[in-house]
C-alpha cells in the first residue's frame, strides 16, 4: 500500500520527522493535503529483527546456520550494501527478505507489513534481481517482461510501452527486444533482469550481485541505473556485491556479514575510519572487509577449522 504513504522529501537528515498515514487504512480524498487521523512515525522500508535461518544439510549433523540473528533497519530511499565473503549468507538473507525461504526465528517487515502475515501485500512491494538472470530463454525480453507485468497486475499495453522504454534506457535497442533471450550476452540478460524488476515499480528492490560478471561498461551502466532508481523511482535498495568500489559509491550504509552474523554496520566513511588506524591510516573498504571477515581475528575459529558450514555457537 505505498499509495497511502505521504510524499516525502528525499534524503533529508531529519528522517524521524517524516510522517505517514496508517498504512492499512484506505486513502480518502483529501488525505494527502489535510492529513486527517493519526500521525505515526514512518515505518521502516525494511525492518529485520533477529532473523535466523538454518539448513539441515545432512541428517544427524548439526544444521548449517546460514543467517544468525541479523537485525537491520532501512529507511525509505536508502541503498544498503551487504558485504561478506562467499558463503557468508548474503543470498540467503535476500531470499529471506523475498519470502523465498521461511524464517526460523525473528521477523521481517516491509513498509510496516509483516512478510509472513501479510505475504501478498509484501510481494507487491518487492522485487529481486539475482546474480543469474533467470528467464525463459527461448522467449524474447518483451515476452518475459509481459509475463512479469501480468503477474504484477499491470496493464499489458502500458507495460509493453514501458518495457521498451526501460530496456532502451539500459541500452537494449528496440530491434533486440523481440528476439529470444538466449541470443543475448550475459550482461545484456542481466540488464533485462533489472528492467523486469523496474517494470513492477518495487518500493523495495533486492539486488543480489547484480553487476557480477559484467564488463566494465555494462557495470557502469547498471550502477548508474541503480543510483537513478532511488532518485527517479524512490526505491529502497538492498545490494549485495563483491565489488567494494561499487559499494563505496552507491551505498548509504553497509552491513558486513561474516558467517551469517552482522559484524559491523555503518556508512562507508564511518567504516573506513573505524579501521584506518590499524592499517597505517589508509582509508579503504578493502581494509574494512579484510578486518571484519578475516577468520583469524575471530575467537571461535577453531571450531570450524575443517568445515566452515557446521553449526557455530
Amino acid at each position: 500500500m505505498t499509495a497511502t504513504l505521504t510524499p516525502q522529501p528525499k534524503r533529508t537528515d531529519d528522517r524521524a520527522r517524516r510522517i505517514v498515514l496508517l498504512p492499512d487504512r484506505p486513502v480518502r480524498p483529501g488525505d494527502r493535503d489535510t492529513v486527517v487521523g493519526e500521525r505515526l512515525p514512518v515505518p521502516a522500508a525494511l525492518l529485520a529483527e533477529g532473523v535466523t535461518k538454518r539448513f539441515q544439510v545432512e541428517r544427524k549433523k548439526p544444521p548449517v546456520i546460514a543467517i544468525a540473528g541479523v537485525t537491520m533497519r532501512l529507511d525509505r530511499g536508502e541503498i544498503r550494501g551487504v558485504l561478506g565473503a562467499n558463503g557468508s549468507g548474503k543470498s540467503t538473507l535476500i531470499r529471506l527478505f523475498s519470502g523465498l525461504l521461511t524464517l526460523d526465528e525473528g521477523r521481517v517487515e516491509v513498509f510496516g507489513h509483516d512478510i509472513v502475515r501479510d505475504e501478498l501485500a509484501v510481494k507487491r512491494l518487492i522485487n529481486r534481481v539475482s546474480v543469474d538472470a533467470a528467464f525463459f530463454k527461448k522467449l524474447s525480453p518483451l515476452e518475459n517482461l509481459a509475463f512479469a507485468a501480468r503477474l504484477y497486475g499491470l496493464d499489458a499495453r502500458r507495460a509493453k510501452r514501458e518495457s521498451i522504454e526501460i530496456l532502451g534506457r539500459l541500452g537494449i535497442s528496440e530491434k533486440r527486444v523481440g528476439r529470444p533471450i538466449e541470443q543475448m550476452s550475459r550482461g545484456m540478460q542481466q540488464k533485462v533482469a533489472i528492467a523486469r524488476a523496474l517494470l513492477t515499480s518495487p518500493a523495495l528492490l533486492l539486488l543480489d550481485e547484480p553487476t557480477t560478471g559484467l564488463d566494465p561498461r555494462s557495470k557502469l551502466d547498471v550502477q548508474g541505473f541503480i543510483a537513478d532508481l532511488r532518485t527517479t523511482h524512490d526505491a529502497t535498495i538492498v545490494l549485495t556485491t563483491h565489488d567494494l568500489d561499487e559499494a563505496d559509491r552507491l551505498c548509504d550504509r553497509i552491513t558486513v556479514l561474516d558467517r551469517g552474523r552482522t559484524v559491523v554496520e555503518g556508512t562507508p566513511t564511518e567504516l573506513k575510519a573505524l579501521v584506518a588506524a590499524d592499517h597505517g591510516g589508509t582509508e579503504s573498504l578493502e581494509n574494512v572487509f579484510m578486518t571484519y571477515t578475516g577468520r583469524s581475528l575471530d575467537a571461535d575459529v577453531e571450531e570450524d577449522a575443517d568445515d566452515d558450514t557446521t553449526e557455530r555457537r
Binding site: R95, L100, L120, A134, K138
Partner: protein, 266 residues
C-alpha cells in the same frame, strides 16, 4: 471483484506465457505430435492385426484418450519442473499471485493444448482406419472428457509437487505416477483381466471411469443418462482432488521454502 479480476489476470499470465513457449518450441511440438500419433497408430494396429473392428475401436479410444489425459497430467506436472530448469521458479514464486491462480492458468492451458492435440490424432486415426462414427454419441464422450479432466488436474497438481521436493529427479518421478495410472485404468484392456487387488486400485483412478464412459458412448452410442455409474465417481473425485491438490501443493511449497529447495541446484 477487483481481487478476482486481478487473479484472473494472473491466471492469464500463465496461459499467455505457455502459449508463447509453445510457439517458440514449435519444432518440438511437431515432434511430440508425431510421437503421440505414431504411438496411437501402432497400438491401434494391433486391432487391425487381430481383424477385429471392435478391438480397433477399443484400442483407438484407449490410445487417444490416454494421450489426452497424459498430456494434461504431464503439462501441469511439468510446469514446476520447467521453471526449475529455466531457473525462473524463484521469480515466479515471489510474484504477488495466489497459488490457485497460477495452477488454474497452467491447467486451462493444458486442457486447451490437450484438446487440440487429441483432436488432431483422433481425426488422423479415424481417416486411417476408415472408422464410422455415425452411431457414436460424441456429446457424451466430450462430457466425460471435460468432467474427467477436473480430476486429472487435481492429480496433476499433486504430481507437480515432486519437482518442488526433489530438485534433480522430480520430473522423472511424475512418470512413475503416470505409468501406474496407465496400468490400473484399463486403457488398452478391460480391468476384468487384472488381479483382484489391482481391480480395487483401478476404482480409485478417474481414468477408469473416463475410458469406460467414452468407450460406451463412442462404440455403442450409449448416452450420458445411462452412464451415471461412471459419472458420479468422476464428479466426486473432481470435487475432492482439486482442493486436495491445492492443499498438498501449499504444503510442499512451505516445505521447499523451509529447506531451501526452491533455488536451483548449487
Amino acid at each position: 471483484m477487483a481481487i478476482l479480476a486481478h487473479e484472473m489476470k494472473a491466471s492469464f499470465a500463465f496461459i499467455e506465457r505457455n502459449f508463447n513457449l509453445t510457439k517458440r518450441y514449435w519444432g518440438w511440438e511437431v515432434a511430440f505430435l508425431v510421437y503421440a500419433l505414431a504411438g496411437a497408430l501402432s497400438v491401434t494396429l494391433i486391432g487391425a492385426d487381430q481383424g477385429s473392428r471392435r478391438l480397433i475401436f477399443s484400442l483407438m479410444i484407449g490410445a487417444i484418450f490416454w494421450n489426452y489425459l497424459s498430456v494434461i497430467f504431464s503439462f501441469i506436472a511439468e510446469t514446476i519442473a520447467w521453471e526449475r530448469w529455466e531457473g525462473t521458479l524463484e521469480y515466479t514464486m515471489m510474484a504477488p499471485v495466489r497459488r490457485y491462480s497460477q495452477l488454474l492458468g497452467s491447467t486451462l492451458y493444458a486442457i486447451l493444448y490437450a484438446l487440440i492435440h487429441t483432436a488432431f490424432i483422433l481425426v488422423v486415426l479415424v481417416l486411417f482406419f476408415g472408422l464410422d462414427l455415425s452411431h457414436a454419441d460424441l456429446v457424451t464422450a466430450a462430457i466425460f472428457m471435460l468432467v474427467g479432466s477436473v480430476s486429472f488436474v487435481g492429480i496433476g497438481m499433486m504430481a507437480a509437487i515432486l519437482p518442488l521436493l526433489y530438485v534433480e529427479r522430480g520430473a522423472q518421478m511424475t512418470f512413475v505416477l503416470q505409468s501406474v495410472l496407465l496400468l490400473i485404468s484399463g486403457v488398452y484392456y478391460s480391468i476384468d483381466v487384472l488381479p483382484g487387488w489391482m481391480q480395487v486400485a483401478s476404482r480409485f483412478s478417474p481414468a477408469t471411469y473416463i475410458l469406460d464412459g467414452v468407450r460406451k458412448a463412442l462404440i455403442e452410442g450409449v448416452s450420458i443418462g445411462a452412464l451415471w455409474g461412471d459419472v458420479w465417481p468422476l464428479v466426486v473425485m473432481g470435487i475432492a482432488l482439486i482442493p486436495l491438490g491445492l492443499w498438498a501443493f501449499g504444503r510442499a511449497e512451505r516445505y521447499a521454502k523451509r529447506t531451501g529447495k526452491l533455488k536451483r541446484v548449487g
